[in-house]
């Protein structure tokens, strides 16, 4: 490939592909990410798209973006600010202007910067001047014209021609990074295998984009990001929904159970159902139910019948499932409820991220309803916590809520593939027939879990249900029995704490400030705290995955710091929960409710403010 006059070496670069929802930006971003991962970069991705499949063209509301952070160092977030923006229209400039780092490169399709489209995006005449981007490294590429030119000899319709524009842009970005085209070409071939002309057109345009980058080389520096020092092993890219699905599947296999998922499509959780629906080869039975309630109720039925049962949803669906979730609490059947959170309330921001279902998960049901709640921290983490949710559910005979969110569900990262032999064992508390009468609610003295008597087993016939029961399983309205059962169900969930690993502290065990978070803020919090530590601040971080019960060393960790701050994407649900559970501490709050993840910078700025700039010593 051509020689390069100016190469910038970087530890990490953030690239954002941005255009109309029909421009294929999600695919472009994914292909670029996979190519980078294959090269050996560490990566983190963040797709950000509108709720409408084809939102009004050319408007800021219709912009679909895919951000990827690639690095030679370990990458924990998709990056706050963009180094390279690929903008297919003026709206993409408008939507992203505030996230551009100084000196960024903007590659844009100049054919699409007509007067009309400029005004549609809310500009008067000159997007770059109006958003003060003139000093950026602007690369105007007449992509539509170039694509038509590249394909002029092929007999394909003009619509298909224009659909390849994203490949042209991708080709240009590949040139900037001196990347190999092979992965993308293989992908094109596989995807359009049945339409060889379309495949050929896409490949041709991809290469045209690459060569165009080379031709205009004098105009721009290119980048070099060396591979990251990653642990040896076999890797793959994985997103949160896929990881969650595979995690519960791994747990089912470990427990010697077959998996059942009853679910209903809802953004951003549908990927879990889709992933498991594929796995008929592994005996997974999946049902797309008639509604959210049927999703959980079929799962409860399957659990009663002896399957590892899962249901997946998002906030509005969890609300619909809450009555049935209590049925699982009452019947003490294992069930994994996956809530991929999104912006609420009501339909809210269906495609945006938020951590605002925490209280719903903890408290959103009638009566005294103890349910373990755990949360995953990164896309690949979803595998471990999917596994963990299922393990807790089965071993403790209880429904478990696993909280992930839109950011984790759609975000992806390279993942070192584990071997299932390294996963912990799962012991299923089966009931067995003995001479004694089987009592449905007789409990294990240690875990307080009841036994799982599977229909079809002779001699263990019993009835369960939503009405309060005695140990024997008979309906009972006796005052003392009810109080006893309420307390013992609660105690059963509290005893899970014995298996909850200690809360980990990133950094020293004592200091001026502990930055607390839970679930998906893991990447941003740990990156911010690591940077603060490097800058000399006495700051540590602790990000929770176990919400109910909380790790037993929680208070001990908190006691080591002068100040505590809880960062979360809601108005303070976890902070208030901690205030209730560990009253003796004062909790500062840093909250964001914009449907977006934190940026590293805002967490850092807040911490520095809280510390009044005070550094070590």
């Amino acid at each position: 490939m051509g020689k390069r006059s100016k190469v910038i070496e970087k530890d990490a670069v953030v690239i954002r592909f941005s255009g109309d929802s029909g421009d294929g930006m999600q695919l472009t971003g994914t292909l670029f990410s996979n190519t980078s991962a294959l090269f050996g970069h560490d990566i983190s991705t963040f797709p950000d798209y509108p709720a409408e499949i084809r939102a009004p063209q050319g408007t800021v509301g219709g912009v679909s973006g895919f951000q990827v952070h690639i690095g030679h160092k370990l990458i924990n977030t998709p990056g706050d600010f963009t180094d390279i923006l690929v903008a297919m229209n003026p709206a993409a400039i408008r939507a992203n202007a505030r996230w551009l780092r100084k000196g960024s490169t903007i590659i844009y399709d100049s054919d699409n910067f007509t007067e009309k489209s400029i005004q549609r995006a809310g500009y008067k005449a000159d997007p770059f001047a109006e958003d003060k981007l003139d000093s950026m490294n602007l690369i105007a590429a007449p992509i539509s014209t170039l694509v038509k030119e590249a394909l002029k000899d092929m007999e394909i319709d003009p619509k298909t021609v224009l659909r390849t524009k994203n490949m042209f842009a991708l080709g240009m970005v590949y040139w900037l990074f001196d990347s190999k085209l092979k992965y993308t070409e293989d992908f094109i071939e596989e995807k359009f295998g049945k339409k060889p002309l379309v495949a050929e057109a896409n490949s041709k345009v991809l290469r045209a984009g690459y060569y165009y980058g080379e031709t205009i080389e004098a105009l721009t520096p290119s980048y070099r990001v060396d591979p990251a020092p990653i642990r040896k092993g076999t890797y793959r890219n994985i997103n949160g929904n896929q990881a969650t699905a595979w995690g519960v599947l791994a747990a089912a296999e470990k427990a010697g159970l077959k998996l059942f998922i009853g679910s209903y499509p809802i953004t951003p959780a549908t990927g879990v159902l889709e992933e498991l629906a594929l796995r008929k080869d592994m005996g997974v039975k999946s049902l797309q139910a008639e509604d959210e309630i049927a999703g959980i109720c079929t799962s409860i039925g399957a659990s009663f019948a002896g399957r590892m049962a899962v249901t997946s949803t998002s906030g509005p669906g969890l609300a619909l499932k809450s009555e049935a979730l209590n049925l699982a609490v009452m019947t003490e059947l294992p069930l994994v409820v996956i809530d991929v959170q999104r912006g609420g309330p009501s339909t809210g921001l269906p495609t945006k991220t938020e951590q605002s279902d925490l209280w719903q998960a903890l408290y959103g049901r009638n009566g005294e309803s103890p349910v373990p709640v755990i949360a995953a921290g990164t896309p690949s983490d979803c595998f471990w916590f999917g596994f963990e949710a299922a393990k807790i559910a089965v071993e403790h005979m209880t429904p478990v809520i696993l909280l992930t969110d839109s950011y984790l569900a759609n975000g992806s990262e390279p993942w070192r593939i584990p071997s299932t032999k390294d996963l912990p064992p799962i012991t299923v508390p089966y009931a067995v027939k003995t001479d004694k009468e089987f009592l449905a609610y007789e409990r294990d003295p240690v875990t307080l879990a009841r036994k799982w008597a599977i229909p079809g087993t002779p001699g263990l016939e019993h009835r369960v249900g939503g009405l309060e029961k005695t140990v024997k399983g008979s309906v009972s309205y006796t005052p003392e029995n009810h109080e006893y059962m309420v307390k013992i169900r609660d105690e059963k969930v509290e005893r899970i704490v014995k298996e909850v690993p200690d809360l980990k502290v990133l950094g020293k065990k004592t200091g001026d400030l502990l930055v607390i978070g839970w679930g998906s803020s893991y990447g941003h919090i740990t990156t911010a705290v690591t940077e603060l530590q490097q800058e000399g601040y006495a700051v540590s971080a602790a990000v929770f995955n176990y919400i109910r019960p909380l790790p037993k060393n929680t208070a001990k960790v908190f006691a080591g710091f002068d100040k505590l701050v809880v960062c979360e994407l809601n108005t303070g649900q976890f902070a208030n929960y901690l205030r209730m559970k560990h009253q003796k501490y004062t909790y500062n709050q840093y909250n964001k409710i914009q449907g977006l993840p934190f940026t590293v910078k805002e967490i850092k700025d807040y911490c520095v403010k809280l510390l009044k700039g005070k550094k070590n010593g």
């Binding site: 793959r236 109720c297 039925g301 049935a324």
Partner: protein, 340 residues
């Protein structure tokens, strides 16, 4: 467990140790008795039965049945039963439900279970009232019925269960009366043998809140003339003197008298429960007084693939094609790379 053995069960083997708490005189007692008798006569090991229910008087039945049982939440029995059956198609799943449970709050699950043809037996106790909440009108209450929540009479048209069921692509629909143990036994057995969603509407009397609502065709003096018991392959003849019959004329069912206007037995329709076209079954299931007698017995029973069987078949097909069997194989499928 040898499944082919005669199990020698008696009805009492299916009685649980729970005290039956329905009101004295309630039609539910008869339903329980005939179900227990039916199970004793079927050649299926006891541990394979699962009785599932929602909420309401009907839904207490699983507690009284000495089998596996699941007393669910209001309206959701069909969904719970569906999950059980898919999880383990070896089980025989019976759903106990009522007109409020299945057709109001649970209407969605009801029609979708039927549409899928999941192999469950739905016994729908139709007393045209909410009993457990003490007497409010239900989706099957007659228009104009005065209840606590309709003090001036209802202004709603009721559902006809047969029409709804067949309209939802129901493959099996039967009707019986709570006190008619013999017919019930016959119909339950047919439902048990049927592969797919079998709906049995049981005309049930709630002595407390809607006593006598079905009397026009269930009382001793009315039942012979105002009901017709359909049996596959038999002529549609009814009446105390067995002199009335049903014919189809000008696309309409008509009640005729044998011997009048030249009508002979030959002119009377023969019941074909296996006819796939739902038209005639829909009309038979919808027959009501005063124009028609109410049809009892198995009105429709057509075979089709069940959902659970289709799922097993699909699993086999996919398994024949895919090499992935274990999680380790799955994690390493698709595009991966080595870091050395």
């Amino acid at each position: 467990m040898a499944e082919t053995n005669i199990n020698h069960y008696a009805a009492k083997d299916f009685k649980s140790d729970q005290e039956v708490r329905w009101c004295p005189g309630c039609g539910d007692h008869g339903i329980l008795a005939s179900l227990q008798k039916t199970l004793a006569e079927l050649d299926i090991p006891k541990e394979k039965y699962v009785f599932v229910s929602g909420i309401g008087c009907s839904s207490r039945l699983p507690y009284y049945m000495n089998t596996y049982g699941f007393h669910g939440i209001h309206g959701r029995a069909a969904a719970i039963a569906t999950g059980i059956k898919i999880a383990n198609p070896d089980l025989m799943v019976w759903e106990m439900t009522g007109d409020g449970d299945a057709l109001a709050i649970g209407g969605n699950h009801y029609i979708h279970a039927i549409r899928r043809n999941i192999d469950i037996k739905i016994i729908l106790f139709n007393n045209e009232i909410y009993g457990l909440t003490k007497g409010q009108y239900s989706p099957t209450s007659k228009k104009g019925l005065t209840t606590k929540t309709s003090p001036y009479g209802t202004i709603e048209e009721p559902f006809k269960i047969g029409e709804l069921t067949i309209g939802a692509n129901g493959r099996f629909f039967a009707r019986t009366v709570d006190y008619n143990l013999q017919l019930s036994n016959e119909v339950y057995k047919e439902a048990a043998k049927f592969h797919g969603t079998a709906v049995v509407e049981v005309i049930q009397n709630c002595v407390i809140f809607n006593d006598g609502t079905h009397d026009a065709f269930t009382s001793k003096e009315n039942r012979d003339d105002n009901t017709i018991t359909l049996r596959h392959g038999e002529k549609m003849i009814f009446g105390k003197n067995r002199d009335k019959g049903i014919i189809l004329k000008d696309l309409k069912l008509r009640v005729v008298k044998i011997g009048e206007n030249g009508i002979t037995e030959k002119d009377i329709l023969t019941h074909d429960a296996h006819e796939p076209n739902p038209g005639i079954h829909y009309r038979l299931a919808g027959m009501s007084l005063p124009e028609y007698p109410v049809a009892l017995g198995v009105i429709r029973a057509i075979s089709a693939q069940t959902y659970d069987a289709a799922m097993m078949e699909q699993h086999e097909r996919v398994q024949a094609r895919s090499k992935i069997r274990t999680v380790d194989e799955l994690l390493r499928s698709g595009s991966t790379w080595e870091v050395k």
